[in-house]
């Protein structure tokens, strides 16, 4: 027996390939959509991976530091360091703000990292160029997505920083590139907004007669000095000793330090469940719509192709072709169309769409496999209408009249 579907496709392969390419672009968009969602989840995961932490200690009853603002005293780490099972702790600050470089400015998540050596929690775990921060002030490691280059002078709030290293895929859960600067600078930049604001604040303080008392020289200066420091950080990152259970260590910090502590799993649930839930739902909606559109297109194309072959089908039936063979002909064509579409879609998503999309697009092989199965299933389902039409064709139609 010969493959009727194959022969038909070979006969009209141009039409077939073009239709397949069109469908493929649609499938490419669908795969990219899934990739965008995966990318968002991955953004959240790399954010957690890159912090190198096993536990996040944050302000009591907050979802900080990523999903909600959190601030704790910058000497809290000392007491946490002493808890059993704690190997290493580090303060960290996160604040999304504009980073200026020359004429342009970039929205970035400025991360203040505790000084130390490479491998300290919060430090970028690997670089793509340059070096890690060595000075305690005014050096920055920026993500390549920010567009900064090595040696660039960037301005964050009041201070200038030299870009000494570049990272890749270090982004906030919103996809903003991260810029790592020393902790003290970051604390200052979170607090000292700009010179004008500082001046106004000093003026307000000086105008307050409670603080500016002639009988008490030096009081105003002391008040201003106390206003100009920021003894807070957003979180304390904790690495636990090997052999200790993260949940147990977290529980003991919660109990004795009365702070909120999240483990890696909980943090991931917060980021994925809270931070990107809305976006994920939107993307899910788009996926459903695109799947429906794709299947409608496949159904329509196959239906049209079948209508164009009604007479041939009638002849085939008349000369004794089995229904199964005819259904197979149509279904095989639908699947072939889906295959071409999938191949084109996968290629276009990988080479044409993902690299140029402004957000990170992660195309998981497993997603591609599911996508492939979905495409085949959709094609099979879409061909059912056409098959019904074909099976209803009366062989008598071949005999005129």
């Amino acid at each position: 027996m010969i493959s009727l579907a194959g022969r038909d496709i070979m006969h009209a392969w141009g039409k077939f390939v073009f239709t397949g390419v069109g469908l493929g672009l649609l499938i490419g968009v669908t795969l990219s959509m899934a990739g965008i969602y995966r990318g968002m989840v991955d953004d959240a995961k790399v954010l957690l991976d890159n912090s190198g932490a096993d536990l996040w200690v944050v302000q009591k009853d907050t979802l900080g530091p990523y999903a909600e603002s959190s601030s704790i005293y910058d000497d809290t780490w000392r007491s946490i360091r002493g808890m059993p099972g704690v190997e290493r702790v580090a303060n960290i600050t996160y604040l999304t703000m504009q980073v200026r470089q020359g004429e342009r400015d970039v929205r970035a998540m400025v991360t203040g990292v505790t000084p130390g050596e490479a491998g300290t929690p919060g430090w970028p775990p690997y670089l793509v160029a340059g070096r890690q921060i060595t000075r305690g002030h005014y050096e920055a490691v920026a993500d390549i997505a920010s567009g900064f280059k090595l040696g660039d002078r960037i301005q964050i709030r009041r201070n200038h920083y030299t870009v000494v290293g570049l990272t890749r895929r270090m982004v906030s859960s919103n996809g903003d590139p991260m810029v790592f600067i020393p902790l003290k600078d970051a604390q200052e930049s979170q607090f000292l907004k700009d010179n004008d604001a500082i001046l106004q604040q000093r003026r307000r303080t000086a105008e307050n007669p409670n603080f500016n008392r002639p009988q008490v020289p030096g009081l105003l200066e002391a008040v201003i000095a106390s206003q100009s420091t920021n003894p807070y950080v957003n979180a304390v990152l904790v690495q636990i000793k090997s052999g200790h259970n993260a949940d147990e260590v977290a529980q003991s910090i919660r109990r004795w330090k009365r702070l909120t502590v999240y483990t890696r799993g909980q943090m991931e649930a917060i980021l994925v469940g809270k931070l990107i839930a809305t976006s994920a739902r939107q993307i899910g909606m788009f996926l459903v719509i695109l799947s429906i559109v794709s299947s409608a297109i496949v159904a329509f194309i196959i239906y049209t192709l079948t209508l164009g072959k009604i007479r041939e089908i009638a002849v085939l039936k008349l000369i004794g072709t089995k229904n199964r063979t005819i259904a197979g002909l149509i279904m095989q064509q639908a699947i072939a169309l889906g295959l071409i579409g999938f191949v084109v879609g996968k290629i276009s998503a990988t080479l044409l769409m993902a690299p140029f999309f402004p957000k990170y697009v992660l195309l998981e092989p497993l997603d591609s496999v599911f996508g492939f199965i979905a495409v085949v299933v959709i094609c099979v389902l879409s061909s059912i209408i056409a098959i019904r039409v074909a099976l209803k064709v009366d062989p008598a139609e071949a005999i005129g009249g």
Binding site: M10, G119, Y126, V128, A129, G136, Y138, E364
Partner: protein, 384 residues
């Protein structure tokens, strides 16, 4: 399937379209996602000497600051100097309002005159009493008068002498009182204790101020130094006499040399910083404003050559520091023990690596031992 019937043109075209498509698909499937090799750059461990350095941030401060004000509450009468004026030691900078002090001195002078008059009177009385006493003694020798009369005259002399002493002391007291007032009067003048530069003028004539409140502030410009704060993590090796380079925020291109004068015995417990004073070898001209930010790099003595790697190669895995070593094309995580580091990101390796070893410097993503790697000159996406 049957033997292919030669539908040459079509088959060829089909092959021309489908085969590249398929090839592209396979390429895409293998070259993206987790199956793709990770681009890495490689560096070799070098034996070299490094010069570690410490980096700190400080502010320009004056070693000696003189805050000049009156010793008691009062009103400023005049103030002759302004911020930026240079003054000499002993120069009068201003004066407090004396209020009734001059009048009180005049009163004391009148009292002085009166005390002098009283002294003269007491002197006269004592001289008379002495004369009388001597005459009556002579008369007693000839027994012209009774002994009792002589005793009376002696007593009168003693009384006159006591009166004279009292008048003298009274004079001394009034004189001292007057001198005290004059000294107070003199103290109303605000005088520069040293040669210096006026840095602040906190009050103007007419202002009433409390005792101890500064009216003007004076610094000795020769004594400018930088009060530097080093993070304690990066303060190892900090000591007096080490050479330092100073960059002022206003003059970032110009490097100034200096040296560490002393490391403060008290560290900042709140900010976890060690404090040190760094002095300029030569004071900048014009003088930098006090309070200006300065970046200070303290050079430590150079260390002997040892295997050195860039700090970008170091990462933490399973709690330990190490590097990815490439041996025969395979990726291995080698734990290392690190030594000194310099500010350019070079770190000496005490244990774990030898010179000549190949280690991964940069990678396009986090590596694991199972990764295939693709050694490149530059990670894709990094602009030169």
């Amino acid at each position: 399937m049957i033997k292919r019937f030669p539908i040459r043109g079509r088959t060829l075209a089909l092959v021309l379209v489908l085969v590249p498509l398929l090839a592209l698909f396979i390429y895409v499937a293998l070259r993206s996602g987790p199956l793709a090799p990770v681009p890495v750059t490689v560096t070799s461990v070098e034996d070299r000497a490094i010069s570690p350095a410490l980096f700190g941030i400080g502010t320009i401060e004056a070693r000696y600051t003189y805050r000049i004000g009156p010793t008691f509450a009062g009103r400023i009468k005049r103030l002759d100097v302004h911020v930026g004026d240079t003054v000499k030691a002993g120069q009068v900078l201003g004066e407090m309002d004396p209020v009734d002090l001059d009048e009180r001195i005049q009163g004391q002078e009148a009292a002085l005159k009166r005390a002098k008059a009283l002294l003269n009177e007491a002197l006269a009385r004592q001289a008379y009493a002495q004369t009388q006493s001597r005459r009556y003694e002579q008369l007693l020798e000839v027994r012209a008068i009774s002994e009792e009369t002589v005793a009376t005259k002696k007593h009168e002399l003693q009384v006159a002498e006591a009166g004279l002493n009292a008048a003298r002391e009274e004079l001394a007291r009034i004189q001292a009182d007057r001198e005290a007032l004059i000294a107070q009067r003199r103290n109303l003048k605000l005088v520069a204790p040293v040669d210096g530069l006026i840095t602040a003028r906190d009050a103007d004539p007419g202002t009433t101020i409390v005792a101890g409140q500064a009216v003007v502030e004076l610094i000795d410009p020769e004594s400018l130094w930088v009060n530097v704060r080093f993070d304690q993590i990066h303060a190892h090796g900090l000591a007096a006499k080490l050479p330092a380079t100073i960059v002022l925020r206003s003059q970032t291109v110009e490097l100034r040399t200096g040296r560490v004068l002393r490391v403060e015995p008290l560290a900042d417990t709140v900010t976890e910083e060690t404090l040190a004073k760094v002095i300029f070898d030569q004071l900048p001209e014009p003088l930098p404003p006090v309070g200006e930010l300065a970046e200070v790099t303290v050079a430590l003595p150079a260390l002997p050559a040892a295997p050195t790697i860039p700090n970008a190669a170091i990462l933490r895995r399973n709690g330990g520091l190490g590097v990815w070593q490439i041996k025969n094309g395979d990726l291995r995580f080698i734990p290392v023990i690190l030594g000194a580091a310099d500010l350019e990101g070079n770190v000496q390796v005490r244990e774990g690596l030898q010179a000549g070893d190949q280690v991964v410097l940069y990678s396009a993503k986090a590596l694991s031992a199972r990764n295939r790697i693709d050694i490149v000159d530059r990670i894709p996406g990094v602009k030169p």
